[in-house]
Symmetry: D2
Subunit: 439 residues, 4 copies
């Protein structure tokens, strides 16, 4: 093993809020107990392989700029895959990351066909198994990349060509088994090209049925191999496609209900995808909670002035405080966690920039966790919301909710009591101040 | 009856494409047969009461500017309601509109309580019945305004106060019955405030359950009174709320599935709401077709540079050609139609402006209808799409779709055949040229 | 004088960060010295009259909901104007606001024509003078409302009708003089309808010339009457118009240069207008600093998911930290300040909500001020930026900037030295962590 | 010379509106006279080199998909550059394109340093000169790519490193001279990275001064070498940067005024950049006309639901009709033209797709030209606008515009005449119908 790319970076320790060391945690104290659980167990955070180890620092207007020993952006030899793997787990370990995530092609050497795909995937998975054992950094989730190869230009499961569907099945089957083998806690599908570039050439209903069938096949296979983590769909509204079918949490829910999957599949919510879809991040989480499909989080942020997926590291505690609050309210992560699906900016070319990014992100999550815990311990917010709906605990409200009352009876209730309901303050500014006070 | 506000406006006739008379139809020839049906029966268009007769021409930064004899924006007396009704049906008739739409409060005199609400609603509905008989202009759909009165500030069915739910039940029950009585073809619910201003004070799951119960009550009442038109939900993502639960067609579908309503309720898709939700208008229609919940259309347009509901009249034939194409592909309107949920700009203060707006809108729809019909008659577009998916008609594809094949078998199919699917052109530019050629 | 609407609200005191009293400041300690100046003098904050005292709580889909003794939304009698004035200054004083802002029509009784306009304006200005003397709450800026009255439907200075221009001149002349009389520190023009609803009926060049002439007339009058505060233009991209000429700071700068006003007129930057224009708030401030036209701030926030001017109270310290940083870097406010051009949400119907809103806003600004001061005292950020450009202090860079070098010479410099500049890290994540550490 | 990539594509002829041949023009009849000029001379359209010949069909989520003999996306040998050049001019000629455009690196072989840059650029320019002579396809404009190479990650002229500025000078000097040598009619600068990724590390004023100096150097060099075409700046608000200084036409105008360039530099307006900046395309043109800086057009379209630069081919005649109208109103193109800065979708992998795209684009422009000419010949729109402002031709209006009248005098004019201006209809819907009637 060569000297690590990160040889000059120390292991990152908790130093407390007074520290000005940029290579230290100021809030993330992994073993600190918060609401009866360690911060590590609350956050269950992961480093993603792709942005940090597979992306060469290109954008649509410019070439790759990152000079790494594993040569991102160039053809991947087995040797480069090894260098990358070593560097990746060195970084994970130095950060003290409990988890990581990867796509098949992030980690493996290049392949030409289904056979070499399997060979190269098996090779890297075997080595990864050793790394997991060595470092204790576990797999939060695995996934197959069904969008980068030219064959997927018109989609994977929703491709008009069933041969592509078969290829996708091969990759997902393989990565689902690899994830199981590596002890991964979830399996994710992001349908990056499961949508259309133009509706004019698209049979939307046919494609939805293809996708519905594919998801059912994945679920069936999961049970067959005994993988006990959940299958997660990651919603996104568009990009690279003009429109992606898994637009947002509510849309995915409708899809799951349509294809009988609502008890089997949950969502992996990405912050930047939420906002691209016109929803707030916290809305997506509260919605997933309400619909019973909350799974895991891709934590990052978008740029409020830029209309594409910037995948930046989170940096705003008050914005994330409601996010942590709703996650805890929903019972906290079971198999899920916070995967940093985030990349350093193209100009952040140094090894240390990768550390600044993750350290900052982890500390921001930690502060938001502490803020959310403080709100929960205080109890005022929760109480306010309960009180606001307390009228529904009385007879009429209960009869409505339980289905005892018809529209006519409800209408008569208004007439007979000559109801003149007045506006009650929603106290939005008071509640925003409350969030602010804790964050 | 006073002299009509529209006394100087002639009845609008079809004069053909060479006409330069701005008060004539150039494309809308109501009885002309297109694909075996009259243009009137294809379009089933409606004038809406609210924008034209109830809106005073104010915006959030300025006062009302419209000087009408029925005094929009001022308290509505029975006399003003009558003047308004006369003017409305005069206008509908002069336009040759087959349909109109209204909210309870658009047409009725003011009320103080549930009792006077019923009295005033009954009074105007009685008069309206006469107008329908007299003019032959029919009711496309009725709806209750559950968002303008202060009581609805925190929502109607989703209000934290069950008394407000009861009031909403009273209005909807009354308007559903009125719609039935008037021979209306659909009943619409737009949940303008069924959402939240801040998620902080909101129990999202509770509110969804309230709304689910409300919708079921409406459906039950519909059956009870023998109303045979569909119940339609009109999606919108936000405005006036920060977030509205009925975000878009796919979201509404998930809601319907959750509350067992998918066979009872359809969508009334508004163009401007579609684009505010980040979807194209045609996407919403194709989605509703695919999900089996296509109901009716609120036809208008948004401004691509302005992020609110501008409700402008449609003016772009190529944009609407795919819309008409998908409507016809979905079987055309059954009970639905094109309701002009559109308002003249605030500076368009004259009576003739209301006519320019509707004439332009009807002609644009007519041209788009002719273009769509021409595409359908040619058959090239439909053929292209069929051919694109034709691989799915072969054995492997059929086995996938019918559920015969497992993920493993599909994967093996790829491996055993050493599949190397190549990219086939999606021909987007060719298809866009095709649309352009017909429109 | 009646008992004040705010009789139950105590004067708001600084109680420190441990306080959980929602009617207290936790960070705003007016006399506390920060970077050599009191917090009061740094922030120079103002309450605006319009949102709190003139807006009835309506939106475009619903009626007013606020029950106030001065009856917002109804015709304004002299008596109501008096009640409103009393309540306003009671509120300003209880909040300890150093400043307020108002439009002519916010405060005065209704008028029919130019003569009654002057009479009613004079009447209220006279009373206001007494209130200022009594409370010590000063006028940050005055402005004339040139957008709400129907006459301004097609603009004020840019109206196609020169009579409207004359009316606008009357209002601005009057309010400029009133502002001068009241000791106001700035005079603001927001061209809410200085733009167009449709470009089709618009002579853009003509309208710009009208506006250029109007602004010059205002500047000339300012000098004539001896008003020594600056004239400020408040940029906004659109709403209520489809397009407003004063789109953003850079656009206003071009306008000022075109009409020779760049030394006379500055900008009043509103946070929500910045983001509606597709710029970050801090970008607008840094740009105004760079162009030498930084004047004052309308402090509020928009909703990231809603595309209109929501004018919410600020609630996010890390977002505002760069804003305060750039304001201080630019030398701090001279005549400007932070005007809360912000309104409570429509459901926040109680008197106390107005206090929660302002208290929260002031505290958020205070925290951001403390964070910015801490960054400045540390010096690391400033140093980083200086270092980044330090190459420009050497010979070649200096020769370029001073204009000594031609394109050819600069090119030759590259060739002769065979320059191969490498990418240096921009350290974005490190710098974001730095902001986070201080805020 | 190998057999051309486009060997199977015929030369594209005008066949008239009845033609259903997808490889024919239906509206573009190059020599047809419209308003006294041929369609060719009105449109002056160009094919761009980059999208069609340099882009490999990748996007940020997927690899290149285009299989071309010149191997886009791979290192460019002199041989590949030659194959590409042959193919490019073959395509230009078959389309009958009067013009083309290119960046230095689009056409040349790879280089390592300033010396090899010059060698390779000279080599290809020499060959291109022959191609121009051979085909009669002329250079609309040249430009240097100052954004793709890693050295430009932090900008070109605005780079914190003056060495990068020198490199940029070398490229621009070289391409300006090459453009002059090839008889190019304009020289364009698009500052793709002249902006920032984070304002935190940016000295905005310093960067603007760098850019101002650079532009002056370019203008001076242009005069020195006797290039008589204009220098054009292409505005864009962002992407790849978070913020680009040349945001839109009005912003560029302010920049030009600041650095004394307003008589030397004009704008190259791109449709998709206009809409990304929150402006309509026609707004940008009307603004450039009004400010006297209209230069040339990059014709394409964005996707209304996608927030990035999709650079699609135009396909909407009514949308482009006002664009053509304002171009003709502004006197038509002098040196400018319509450059198709547009790319086929990633799935449009075939040679014929490139032709469908350009044919469709040219025909849409042609139809919009015919529509605009028809509007101009009719004269109604122009007359309407003149009439709307006719009040300004009378004494008071003239005195205002000529600067004879003070604010006080204008105010007195309102008072003395007791002006009560009423709202006149802006006739927006009527005018939209007018556009629709012609398009
Ligand atoms: Co993700
Ligand atoms: Co993302
Ligand atoms: Co609607
Ligand atoms: Co609408
Ligand atoms: Co403001
Ligand atoms: Co605002
Ligand atoms: Co361009
Ligand atoms: Co572009």
């Amino acid at each position: 093993m060569l000297m690590s790319y990160f040889a000059d970076i120390p292991s990152i320790a908790f130093e407390g809020t007074e520290s000005r060391n940029p290579l230290a945690y100021r809030f993330y104290d992994a073993d600190r107990e918060v609401l009866g659980k360690s911060m590590r167990d609350h956050l269950r955070w992961a480093v993603c392989y792709w942005h940090t180890f597979a992306w060469p620092g290109h954008d649509i207007f410019g070439a790759g700029v990152f000079e790494r020993p594993w040569k991102p952006g160039e053809p991947v030899t087995a040797e480069h895959a090894q260098i990358k793997l070593d560097a990746a787990f060195d970084m994970f370990a130095k950060l003290g990351a409990p988890f990581y995530c990867f796509h098949d092609v992030d980690a493996m050497a290049d392949h030409d066909d289904t056979t070499s795909y399997s060979r190269e995937l098996d090779a890297i998975v075997g080595k990864m198994e050793g790394k997991i054992a060595e470092t204790g950094v576990n797999l939060l989730w695995g996934t197959a990349n069904l969008f980068s190869h030219p064959r997927y230009a018109a989609g994977a499961a929703t491709n008009p060509d069933p041969d592509v569907f078969a290829w996708a099945a091969h990759q997902v089957r393989s990565m689902l088994e690899a994830t199981n083998h590596l002890g991964g806690e979830n399996y994710v599908l992001w349908g990056g090209r499961e949508g259309y570039d133009t509706i004019l050439n698209t049979n939307l209903g046919h494609e939805l049925d293809q996708l519905g069938r594919f998801m059912n096949m994945v679920v069936e296979h999961k049970h067959k191999i005994g993988f006990d983590g959940p299958i997660l769909i990651e919603p996104k509204p568009h990009e690279p496609t003009k429109h992606q079918y898994d637009r947002d949490t509510a849309t995915v829910y409708g899809f799951l209900k349509r294809y009988g999957l609502e008890d089997e599949v949950k969502v992996n919510i990405e912050a930047n995808h939420a906002t691209l879809a016109g929803n707030s991040f916290e809305h997506e989480i509260a919605t997933a909670n309400a619909l019973g499909i909350m799974g895991s989080i891709d934590i990052n942020r978008g740029d409020p002035q830029n209309g594409w997926d910037t995948d930046q590291f989170p940096n705003n505690v008050p914005d994330l405080t409601p996010v942590l609050y709703y996650i805890i309210q929903g019972g906290g992560f079971k198999t899920g966690g916070f995967n940093f699906d985030a990349k350093v900016r193209r100009q952040s070319v140094d090894a240390e920039d990768l550390f600044h990014a993750h350290i900052g992100g982890v500390d921001v999550l930690s502060r938001a966790l502490l803020a959310a815990a403080s709100i929960i311990e205080e109890g005022q917010l929760d109480q306010f919301v309960s009180d606001r709906y307390s009228g529904w605990n009385e007879a009429f409200g209960q009869d409505v909710l339980s289905g005892k009352i018809t529209l006519e009876q409800a209408a008569n209730h208004a007439v007979e009591n000559n109801l003149q309901p007045s506006v009650r303050s929603g106290r939005q500014e008071f509640l925003e101040n409350l969030i602010s006070r804790h964050s």
